[in-house]
């Protein structure tokens, strides 16, 4: 009978070598046919080398171990290796997916190897749906604009959205007021309004977006118009009638 084959993937060379040695010690018949240094390599090798088992580090450059398993589908059995990922560990336990914690302990590897040896006769499970579920349960990465590329004269900087108190449109570009200074952004006010978190940034005027956290107080000026006083900024920011409903409590 041909020897079972395995692929191991880890971006850290010492850990790659370590897992190879440990596998040789507790599962000598297993033949390691490929060692991948990143997710893309791992995916390619699963396709070309067709191993029976793939040991995948979760945190890898290019594609994560989970992504590789999702894309490759039930091409092989999977064992995930992680340094510290309490979320994944809970989910793996729940779904009976094999995993190993780094540093890989000999006794755990022995147990995992024993389990795998039993299952090799069967077809690999399709874990891709489980992994998709995992992905959906993970805390949603905010998709709002968090970082802005801004210019001051000829210099280009990156400024966090949270640092900007006020955006004001001017001709073809927008001015951002942050850290007491004025910066130029190439995005239009409309684009900014679409991309910024609407809970933290409010459009108050055809020409202005304000960061709510920067509002010190809102007053009614003569004529019933609302004006905003922003922290650290002497000039007031007028609120046009179209957007005044936000400040109805006055």
């Amino acid at each position: 009978m041909t020897r079972p084959t395995a692929l191991i993937a880890d971006d850290e060379p010492a850990l790659l070598a370590f897992l190879r040695r440990e596998l040789a010690a507790c599962w000598p018949e297993l033949e390691v046919v490929g060692e991948a240094r990143n997710g893309e390599e791992a995916l390619a090798m699963i396709g070309s080398l067709r191993p029976a088992v793939a040991f995948l580090d979760i945190r890898m450059p290019a594609l994560s171990g989970l992504e590789v398993a999702r894309r490759a589908g039930p091409a092989c059995h999977y064992v995930f290796v992680t340094a510290y990922d309490e979320f994944a560990v809970d989910a793996f336990d729940h779904a009976a997916i094999d995993y190993l914690l780094k540093p890989v302990a000999r006794d755990r590897l022995v147990r995992t190897a024993a389990r795998l040896r039993e299952r090799l006769a069967l077809l690999p499970r399709d874990v891709s749906s489980l992994i998709e579920q995992l992905g959906r349960q993970m805390p949603a990465v905010p998709q709002y604009l968090q970082w802005l590329q801004v210019a001051q004269g000829d210099d280009i900087f990156v400024v966090g959205a949270e640092e900007v108190d006020l955006f004001q449109s001017a001709d073809k570009y927008t001015l951002a007021y942050a850290r007491g200074k004025e910066w130029v952004i190439r995005k239009s006010l409309k684009a900014l309004e679409d991309e910024l978190d609407p809970a933290r940034f409010w459009r108050v005027h055809r020409h202005a977006i304000v960061r709510v956290g920067a509002i010190e107080r809102a007053n009614r000026a003569l004529g019933g118009r609302v004006v905003l006083h922003l922290r650290g900024r002497p000039q007031v920011c007028p609120v046009s009638r179209a957007y005044a409903h936000r400040f109805k409590q006055l």
Binding site: L15, R21, P61, P142, Q149, G160, E195
Partner: protein
């Protein structure tokens, strides 16, 4: 314990009552003095002094209350003292059984003398209450400044604590230990070096929050241990350089101020890139200040990347310590990469 000193927590009636006791005491003393000086008999002097003193006192309170003040000033006194004196003398003579006008006619010397005493002592006592209030206000102001300073110190302490909590990244710790374990059998000297570096790194991290300043050289040493560990872990995927002239190495900087920036550079600028990359740390003078730069060759910050907690923490600590003179700026590099530049004000060591 009850005392006649006005406390901030005294209600209005209590405050008035306390002042009343003081006034009555003063009036009595004045009466004693007056009778000794022969201005009149003691009972007589007492009648007048209490009447005058209390009139001035009540008028002062009334005028203060109507002006919305809690203690007197010269504007109150200039009305209350003469008016109070006049009313007091009138009350004094009426209680003595004679009409004030009659008394003035019969005994002008007494009236004038009493008036003089009233004006002098009235002014003196009014001034006493005025300066007492002034001292209390100054005390309150000092208290407020002290508590503001304490709040500022507390914020700084909290920022430093958060720094420590964010300090030891679990992935880093467990990955490093994994590497040490895996190298013990195959490459013991490297395993040993890594363990030494890790120990040094952890010790420096724990000490960091207890100190206000370290020499730049010490901070660079910390970076060296961290980058040394990462270089072994990542093999040839990480290259790094620390480019700082000797004469700048004694410059005082806050502890662990570059560490979060270098961590970001490795984690976001080198690790996720398949081919790896390079991290460079530089220092140079800028006028009277020091500029520290951490550069990586990575993909820069994506627009939707999570806001950087490490960066915000460094900025907070810099502002708490140096105010507006310190700066933290991010610049995209071309063709690729990111530069984080710190400006620390002040004179070199």
């Amino acid at each position: 314990m009850f005392s006649l000193k006005r406390n901030e927590t005294d209600s209005l009636p209590v405050a008035v009552a306390k002042d009343l006791v003081i006034i009555v005491a003063f009036n009595t003393v004045i009466a004693v003095l007056a009778s000794l000086l022969g201005v009149g008999t003691f009972p007589q002097a007492l009648r007048f002094s209490q009447a005058i003193g209390l009139s001035i006192f009540l008028l002062s309170w009334g005028i203060c209350a109507s002006r919305g003040r809690i203690h007197n000033d010269w504007k109150t006194a200039v009305i209350a003292i003469p008016l109070g004196s006049g009313i007091g003398i009138a009350i004094g003579s009426l209680t003595g059984g004679s009409a004030p006008t009659v008394l003035a006619h019969d005994n002008p010397g007494f009236v004038l003398g009493t008036l003089a005493i009233a004006l002098v002592f009235g002014t003196a006592i009014s001034y006493y209450f005025y300066s007492r209030a002034l001292i209390a206000e100054t005390g309150a102001e000092l208290q407020r400044q002290r508590s503001e300073r304490l709040a500022g110190e507390q914020r700084l302490a909290e920022a430093q604590l958060r720094l420590l909590q964010a300090q030891i990244e679990p992935h880093f710790l467990f990955n490093t230990l994994s590497n040490v374990l895996s190298l013990i059998g195959s490459d013991a000297p490297t395993a040993q070096r890594m363990l030494e570096n890790l120990t040094r790194y952890l010790r420096a991290s724990f000490q960091a929050t207890r100190r206000d300043e370290v020499a730049l050289d010490e901070e660079l040493g910390l970076l060296d241990t961290y980058l040394g560990i990462q270089a072994v872990r990542m093999g040839d995927r990480l290259a790094y350089a620390i480019d700082v002239p000797d004469d700048l190495r004694r410059w005082p900087v806050p502890p662990c101020v570059l560490q979060p920036l270098v961590e970001n550079a490795v984690r976001h600028g080198v690790e996720p890139v398949a081919g790896g990359g390079k991290v460079t740390v530089r220092a140079r003078r800028d006028g009277t200040g020091l500029v520290l730069e951490v550069e990586d060759t990575g993909p820069g910050i994506a627009e939707t990347s999570a806001p950087g907690v490490g960066l915000a923490n460094v900025r907070e600590r810099l502002q708490a310590k140096y105010g507006e003179a310190a700066a933290l700026e991010l610049r995209p590099l071309s063709p690729r990469g990111l530069q984080v530049a710190l400006t620390i004000p002040g004179a070199a060591a």
